[in-house]
C-alpha cells in the first residue's frame, strides 16, 4: 500500500542521518511516521539506546510504557504522568472499543483528545484481552468471535476492525491483530496461529487508513518453538512495517523458554527497527531483556501491584499494608526522587491505605517513577559503555546473595557475555 508523501523537515533530517548508516538505509526509506536513531550500542551485549521519534514526541529507549487500560492511568493525572517524564503509554483497544466506543473517541479527536494526553500512545489489537478475559471466544480465519460482556451480543473482531478501531483511537503505534495461543500450548495449533498471524498482518497493513501518522507493528508469534519463531520472523520481516513486537510470551511459560525465544527474535529482527517485548515489566526481566536487545516494554504489574499497597524498590518490593511499616518513618526509597518519596513516609502510606484511594495513588506514582528511572539508568549506562557493570550491581542489589539469582537470568546474561559473580 502506497503511503502518501510527507515533507516534514524534521523527519527528513533524521532520515538523512540514519541513511549514513548502511544497515538502516533501506528500511529508513519507508514513509512511516517513525524514525529510529541509534544513539549507542553496548559493545558487550545486544543492548542498544535509541531515540525513537513518533508523531507526538521522541521516546528515549529502552523504555517502559505504563498501561492506561481505559484511557486513564489508574488515578494518575496526565500532568503527573508528564511530570514523571513518561513519553509513551498504552491504551487497550478491547476496553476502549467497548466503552466509550470508537465513534465517540473519533469525535473527541482520538484517544489523545479524549484523555488529553499530549505525548505518544500505543494501542494493542484487542485480541489478547478477548482471548484472556472473555469466555467463549472462538478464533476463525475471519477473526476472533466473542460475546460482549456488556450486552451479550456476539461480536466478531477481524484484523480490519481492530485496525479501524485503532485508527479511530489515533494511537502513534498500533498493533496488528494476532492469533494468540497460550505459550503453554504446543502442537499444530501453534503453527496454525503463527501462519494466521502472518495473514492477519497483511490484512492489517492493507486496512490501515493512516499509515502517514499511525505506525503499525507486526507481532512475532510461534510459541516456544524455535523453528516456528524463525519462520514467522523470516516472513514478517519481509513486510515493510515500522516496528516489531515479540508476542506470545510472558504467559506463564518457563523462563528458560522465554528468554531463548526473546534472544532468537532479536537475532533475526532488523537492527534499525524498534523491538517491543509485550507484557514484560518485572525489573529483572526488563534488565535482562534489554541485554538481549529489546527496546520497548509494557506491563500492568507496577500499577496493579501499587493498588495492593506494594511499592517497588531496588531490592524488591515493600508490602506497605503489612504491620511492619506502621511505625517506619522513612520514605519508600531514600534515593527515589518521586513526589511520594519526597514527602511521605512508609508509616503514613500504611495509615492512608486503610482510609483513602490517595494512598494507592501515591504508590502508583512511585512505582511508575521506579520503572522509568530504572530504564533511564539502563540507558545512561549503555551510553557510558558500562552496561555490564550496571547489570551486575543491579542484580547484587536485587538479590541478597548470588545463589538467589534466577538461573534463567544468569544463563541469559551469560549468552550475551555478562558473567555474574
Amino acid at each position: 500500500m502506497a503511503a502518501p508523501c510527507r515533507t516534514d523537515a524534521i523527519f527528513e533530517t533524521v532520515v538523512e542521518e540514519i541513511e549514513t548508516n548502511e544497515m538502516c538505509s533501506k528500511k529508513a526509506a519507508s514513509l512511516a511516521p517513525l524514525v529510529l536513531h541509534m544513539v549507542a550500542e553496548c559493545p558487550v551485549t545486544k543492548a542498544r539506546v535509541c531515540d525513537l521519534t513518533l508523531p507526538h514526541c521522541t521516546v528515549n529507549t529502552p523504555v517502559f510504557m505504563p498501561v492506561g487500560t481505559q484511557g486513564t492511568l489508574k488515578g494518575i493525572t496526565v500532568d503527573q504522568l508528564e511530570e514523571l517524564n513518561c513519553q509513551i503509554c498504552l491504551g487497550n483497544t478491547y476496553h476502549l472499543g467497548m466503552r466509550p466506543g470508537p465513534e465517540l473517541i473519533d469525535k473527541a479527536n482520538g484517544l489523545h483528545g479524549f484523555m488529553n494526553w499530549k505525548r505518544n500512545l500505543l494501542t494493542d489489537s484487542g485480541g489478547f484481552q478477548m482471548v484472556s478475559l472473555v469466555e467463549l471466544s472462538e478464533v476463525t480465519e475471519e477473526g476472533v468471535k466473542f460475546r460482549s460482556p456488556y450486552d451479550g451480543k456476539e461480536i466478531l473482531l477481524t484484523p480490519e476492525q481492530s485496525i479501524a478501531i485503532q485508527n479511530s483511537l489515533g494511537s502513534d503505534i498500533m498493533m496488528q491483530l494476532d492469533d494468540v495461543v497460550s505459550s503453554t500450548v504446543t502442537g499444530p495449533r501453534v503453527e496454525e496461529a503463527m501462519h494466521r498471524s502472518i495473514r492477519w498482518l497483511d490484512r492489517s497493513i492493507a486496512a490501515n487508513k493512516n499509515p502517514d501518522r499511525q505506525n503499525l507493528f507486526a507481532i512475532i508469534q510461534g510459541g516456544l518453538n524455535s523453528q516456528l519463531r524463525k519462520a514467522c520472523l523470516e516472513e514478517m520481516t519481509k513486510r515493510d512495517v515500522p516496528g516489531f513486537a515479540i508476542g506470545g510470551l510472558s504467559g506463564g511459560e518457563e523462563k528458560d523458554d522465554f528468554w531463548k525465544m526473546v534472544t532468537l527474535s532479536t537475532d533475526h529482527l532488523p537492527r534499525c527497527k524498534p523491538r517491543y517485548l509485550m507484557g514484560v515489566g518485572y525489573a529483572v526481566d526488563l534488565v535482562v531483556c534489554v541485554a538481549l536487545g529489546c527496546d520497548m516494554f509494557d506491563c500492568v504489574f507496577p500499577t496493579r501491584t501499587a493498588r495492593f499497597g506494594s511499592a517497588l524498590v531496588p531490592w524488591g518490593s515493600l508490602q506497605l499494608k503489612t504491620k511492619q511499616f506502621a511505625k517506619d518513618f522513612q520514605p519508600i526509597d531514600q534515593e527515589c526522587q518521586c513526589a511520594t518519596c519526597r514527602r511521605h513516609t512508609r508509616a503514613y502510606l500504611h495509615a492512608l491505605l486503610k482510609c483513602d484511594t490517595a494512598g494507592m495513588h501515591h504508590i502508583t506514582v512511585h512505582n511508575i517513577s521506579y520503572q522509568l528511572t530504572l530504564m533511564r539508568s539502563v540507558r545512561e549506562s549503555i551510553i557510558e559503555k558500562r552496561f555490564p557493570e550496571f547489570v551486575k550491581s543491579f542484580m547484587k542489589r536485587m538479590f541478597p546473595t548470588s545463589d538467589q539469582y534466577p538461573r534463567w537470568a544468569v544463563e541469559a546474561l551469560a549468552s550475551v557475555n555478562i558473567t555474574l559473580d
Partner: protein, 422 residues
C-alpha cells in the same frame, strides 16, 4: 487567633481570622470553610494534584475519627499529624467526628464518646481524647462532646444530659490542656450542644462562653436533624449568647443553601465535606453563584441547560435512593450538582462547568469524566474532587464578595434558583 469583623450585613459577619498557626502568620477569611481531609489527606488527592487548586483555605481539618487508630504511631513519631501526613504549610484544626461519616447512635456514656476506625470502634475518655490531641498536635481543636441529640424523639432529659456532659468534658479538657506541654499555645474551642431545645441551647452557649475558650463549635445542627427555619432560629439565638469577638464553627452543614441560612444566623466557619460527598455520588457541583453583571458570562447558562439540569435531579434521586452500600453514606443527590454518570453526558465535550478554572475543567470534558465513572476508574474521584473543591471554595469567595458589596439577596437568589420548580 484573632477574629476581626469588618462588617455585619443582615447578621452575616464578614471578617478574617488572623494570627493562625504556631507562627501566627496565617489567616482565614470569614465566612469561610476548612479543608476537609480523611487521615490527613484530601480524599483522592495527592499533594501535587491538590495544589493545582489555587487559594486553598489556610486551615486543614483533621478528624480524630480517622486518626485515633494511629495514636501509637503518632506518639512514636512525636512531631504531630501535620508533619506525619506531609501537610507542610497549613494550620491544622482537629475535630472529633468525620462530618461525612455519621456515627451510629447508642455508644455514648457519661465518661466516653466513640469513633470508628478501620478496625472498629474506639472508645475515648477525656484522658485518651487529650492524649490523642497531644499526639496530633493541632493548632486548634474542639473539646470532647456528646452530640447525640439528633435522633427522632430525643427527650428533653437526654438533651440536658448532652449539655451537662459536654460542659463537664470541656472542664476536664481544659484542666488537662493546661498541664500538657504538647498543647502549649494550642487553642481550644468549646462545643455548644442542646439539640432542638431552645433553653438548653442558650444554657450551653452561656456556660461554654464562661470558659476560657478561643471559639465555639456549634454541634447537633447536622443536615436533616431539624427543619431549616428552626435551625436558623436556634443558631441565631445561640450566637446571640456568644461573645462577638470569637469565631463560631458549624459542624455537619455543607449544602450551599443551608450555608447561606447559617451565615445569616451568625456562623463564621464551615467544614468542606460537601464537595467530597458530591464526589462520592459521581456528581459535579454546578450551582451558579455568579452575580457579577458580566456580559461575557451572561450567555453561559442557557435556559436549555437549566431545564436539562432539572430533569436530571429527579432521575438522580430515584437512581440513588438505595445508596451504594458503602460505609460512608454519600447522602442524597442535591440540586446543586449534576450526575455525570447520566447518559446525557456521554457525548458532552464541554468542561464540567463553563468558565471554571480548576484542573479538571481546564483539561477535561464531561464525556471523559462520564467515561471514567461508568468504567469505575479511580481518576473519576480525583477529577471530581478537584472540581468540586474548587467550586465550593469559589462559592465561599462569592459569598464574601456579595457581603462586601451588600448583595447577599442577589447571591441567594442565584444559588437557590435550582430549588424552583421542585
Amino acid at each position: 487567633m484573632k477574629l476581626e469583623i469588618s462588617q455585619v450585613v443582615q447578621g452575616c459577619r464578614l471578617g478574617a481570622l488572623t494570627g493562625l498557626g504556631k507562627t501566627a502568620q496565617h489567616s482565614l477569611e470569614t465566612p469561610g470553610c476548612l479543608l476537609y481531609t480523611r487521615c490527613g489527606s484530601v480524599p483522592h488527592l495527592t499533594q501535587d494534584t491538590l495544589h493545582t487548586l489555587t487559594s486553598l483555605p489556610a486551615v486543614t481539618q483533621l478528624t480524630l475519627a480517622t486518626l485515633a487508630e494511629h495514636q501509637e504511631v503518632l506518639e512514636e513519631f512525636k512531631e504531630g499529624a501535620r508533619k506525619f501526613a506531609g501537610l507542610h504549610d497549613t494550620v491544622v484544626y482537629c475535630s472529633l467526628h468525620d462530618p461525612a461519616a455519621p456515627n451510629p447512635p447508642g455508644y455514648i456514656t457519661n465518661k466516653t464518646v466513640s469513633v470508628w476506625g478501620s478496625g472498629g470502634r474506639i472508645e475515648l475518655t477525656v484522658a485518651r481524647y487529650m492524649a490523642l490531641q497531644a499526639a496530633i498536635q493541632p493548632d486548634w481543636y474542639q473539646s470532647m462532646a456528646d452530640g447525640e441529640t439528633g435522633q427522632e424523639n430525643t427527650s428533653r432529659k437526654r438533651v440536658r444530659k448532652a449539655v451537662d456532659r459536654t460542659l463537664s468534658h470541656l472542664d476536664e479538657c481544659l484542666v488537662l490542656h493546661q498541664k500538657m506541654q504538647e498543647l502549649k499555645e494550642v487553642e481550644i474551642f468549646g462545643v455548644v450542644e442542646g439539640g432542638d431545645v431552645r433553653e438548653e441551647r442558650l444554657r450551653s452557649a452561656r456556660e461554654t462562653a464562661k470558659r476560657p475558650v478561643t471559639g465555639f463549635v456549634l454541634d447537633g445542627f447536622q443536615s436533616g436533624v431539624m427543619g431549616a427555619d428552626l435551625r436558623s432560629q436556634l443558631i441565631a439565638a445561640t450566637t446571640a449568647e456568644l461573645p462577638q469577638d470569637k469565631p463560631r464553627l458549624l459542624q455537619g452543614v455543607g449544602r450551599p443553601d443551608e450555608v447561606l441560612d447559617c451565615v445569616e444566623a451568625g456562623v463564621d466557619l464551615f467544614e468542606s465535606f460537601f464537595p467530597y460527598q458530591a464526589t462520592e455520588r459521581g456528581c459535579a457541583l454546578c450551582f451558579d453563584f455568579n452575580i457579577e453583571p458580566d456580559p461575557e458570562r451572561a450567555g453561559t447558562r442557557t435556559p436549555t441547560v437549566l431545564n436539562s439540569d432539572k430533569e436530571e435531579i429527579i432521575t438522580g434521586e430515584l437512581l440513588r435512593e438505595n445508596g451504594d452500600g458503602s460505609g460512608d453514606a454519600p447522602g442524597k443527590m442535591t440540586c446543586f450538582e449534576k450526575d455525570l454518570r447520566d447518559k446525557r453526558y456521554r457525548e458532552d465535550f464541554r468542561p464540567l462547568v463553563l468558565g471554571c478554572s480548576c484542573y479538571c475543567c481546564r483539561n477535561h470534558q464531561r464525556a471523559y469524566v462520564h467515561h471514567l465513572l461508568v468504567t469505575n476508574e479511580l481518576l473519576a474521584g480525583v477529577l471530581l474532587m478537584l472540581h468540586n473543591t474548587a467550586h465550593y471554595l469559589s462559592f465561599f469567595q462569592a459569598l464574601r464578595r456579595a457581603l462586601a458589596q451588600d448583595r447577599l439577596p442577589d447571591l441567594k437568589k442565584q444559588v437557590l434558583q435550582c430549588h424552583q420548580g421542585q
